[in-house]
């Protein structure tokens, strides 16, 4: 099946349509058509990002082969990126290459967690990213193509993904999952500023996320009441709670502007919100354990941490996002903890940033 010469070599086809079918046959796509990566397009991407195509962007899991900027550009073209999207893609690749991200495990785990990217700073509006209505859905070319570029790059750099990927169910975000924070709708500092970057800097953060649990509260305005009402959702994020009550892995909460507005109007800091979320989740887990044990079912501690469960508020990462109408929150359980509450965030470089 993989009987081609080298990644530096060019493949010749009669026609773009023939190239398209060949890419499907080689299992180089995610099942959807790709933009065939012609040399001119690939070269332009690297140029605009101010990088040599031969620079090393990271190392492939398992084989440890060096991934060149050119290879990232090839997959970015395939995904449908424009040149101005490429610096975000490169920074995202840098982020997922961090050992803490544990890309190898994410690629193959039966959990089906996948790469979740959050972009902040001036680049987001400049390239047409969406942080508003249907933030987790389709519509923005930048959101769709950047997330997809990273997914294609990983699959093609690892190779044999059809055999290696073991996600029992997986989720649709494995096609693409890249959002911008709705910074204008937030009563707090933007996410990247909260984590030590400058307001005028642009960044991308990478997380290993499971399908979000959506919670809502259209009735209450008091932050404590709102967060308490999310209790069953917070328990649901701890899906490993059956038999495990140990270390944490964390949570990303996407809070809609309506809810963020209630938090802001009540004068709650982001820290206070996160403390309350952690506290309610712990309470829910504790109550669940008590219910199980009083029914005679032993809840034994295992060495596998509980997905989504947090130790402290520092394991919760929070952004404002989504449409102006609707009091919803998306709780994204994480499978790999970002230790000490430190998110993996990379500065986005390049000529037009």
């Amino acid at each position: 099946m993989n009987n081609f010469t080298s990644s530096a070599g060019l493949l010749e086809f009669d026609d773009l349509a023939v190239a398209q079918e060949f890419f499907f046959l080689q299992e180089w796509t995610d099942g959807l058509p790709i933009v065939p990566p012609t040399p001119g397009k690939v070269r332009r991407f690297a140029q605009l990002a101010g990088r040599s195509p031969l620079d090393v962007a990271g190392r492939a899991p398992i084989s440890n082969k060096p991934i060149s900027v050119e290879m990232v550009a090839i997959n970015a073209v395939m995904a449908g990126c424009l040149p101005e999207h490429f610096p975000v893609v490169l920074a995202a690749v840098e982020a997922i290459m961090e050992p803490e991200f544990n890309l190898h495990a994410i690629c193959m785990s039966t959990d089906g967690a996948t790469i979740f990217l959050i972009v902040n700073g001036p680049i987001a509006p400049a390239i047409g990213m969406n942080g508003g209505t249907a933030i987790l859905g389709p519509g923005s070319r930048a959101n769709a193509a950047i997330g997809r570029a990273v997914q294609l790059l990983v699959a093609n750099a690892v190779g044999r993904m059809r055999q290696l990927r073991m996600a029992t169910l997986g989720h649709a975000a494995m096609y693409t999952w890249c959002v911008a924070e709705a910074e204008q709708e937030s009563p707090w500092k933007p996410f990247h500023v909260e984590h030590g970057f400058g307001t005028t800097e642009s960044t991308v953060a990478a997380f290993s996320g499971l399908p979000p649990i959506q919670v809502r509260n259209h009735v209450q305005r008091d932050p404590a009441d709102i967060i308490r009402s999310f209790g069953s959702g917070l328990l649901a994020t701890c899906y490993g709670v059956f038999g495990a009550v140990t270390a944490s892995r964390g949570l990303v909460a996407i809070v809609s502007p309506e809810i963020a507005g209630h938090f802001g109007a009540a004068g709650w800091s982001k820290k206070r919100v996160k403390d309350a979320i952690a506290s309610i989740q712990r309470e829910e887990v504790s109550n669940w354990i008590k219910r199980e044990e009083s029914a005679g079912r032993k809840v034994s501690a295992t060495s596998e941490p509980v997905s989504g469960a947090v130790r402290t508020a520092e394991d919760i990462f929070l952004i404002v996002g989504g449409g102006r109408a609707g009091s919803f929150c998306a709780l994204v359980p994480l499978v790999e903890a970002q230790s000490g509450g430190k998110a993996i965030i990379k500065h986005i470089g390049g000529k037009n940033v």
Binding site: S7, D15, S63, N75, T110, N156
Partner: protein, 211 residues
Amino acid sequence: MSDKAISGEAAGLNPVNVHCPAFEFTGEAIRLANRPDSLEGLTLGLLVNRKRNADALLEEVGSMLKRDYGVNSVVSLTKASSSRLAQRELFEELFNDCDVMISGVGDCGSSASFSICDALELERRGMPAAALVTEALGSNAQATAEVRGAPEFVFATVPHPIASLLPSEVRAIAEAVTPKIAWILLGKPGRSKGNPPGSGFPEPAKSLGPT
């Protein structure tokens, strides 16, 4: 319609060059370790990955290798996480204190892939290693070995799942898979009479499950 109209260009064919988005087939090749003639008197290392029943299953296999194949002693080490490579100190300890090793049990995507990588890390250093994964993860284990540069690496499989097994069931599975593990460590069938001495690895099956 003229001949020209139905030629390549008019038919919409435009020859094009495109880049290949992937690497060539394999990573850097790993040369598998030389095998001992027998397991008699050797020290067996177990690299346990914390998955439920992994410790019980590997320890049962260890006891059976002592009982049936003359292994002298068993050293059991547990790695920090099933979804990461074992810590460097554990590899050092295994390499320094043991003669052969078994890593396992990979019963999910990441744990299976890492059980293979752990075993290959010892093979790369010259120690015969067996990896144990459940049957459901066979394709992942095989692809991991190939991408890692060891397409000839043989691993053993047990029925899936193991997490819900009772101790008596764990013991039965261990009985069935121990001969296969001995075969992998020796590179040939074990002590059972009637099997001619062989060299190299069993062909053609890449994974050896209970028969």
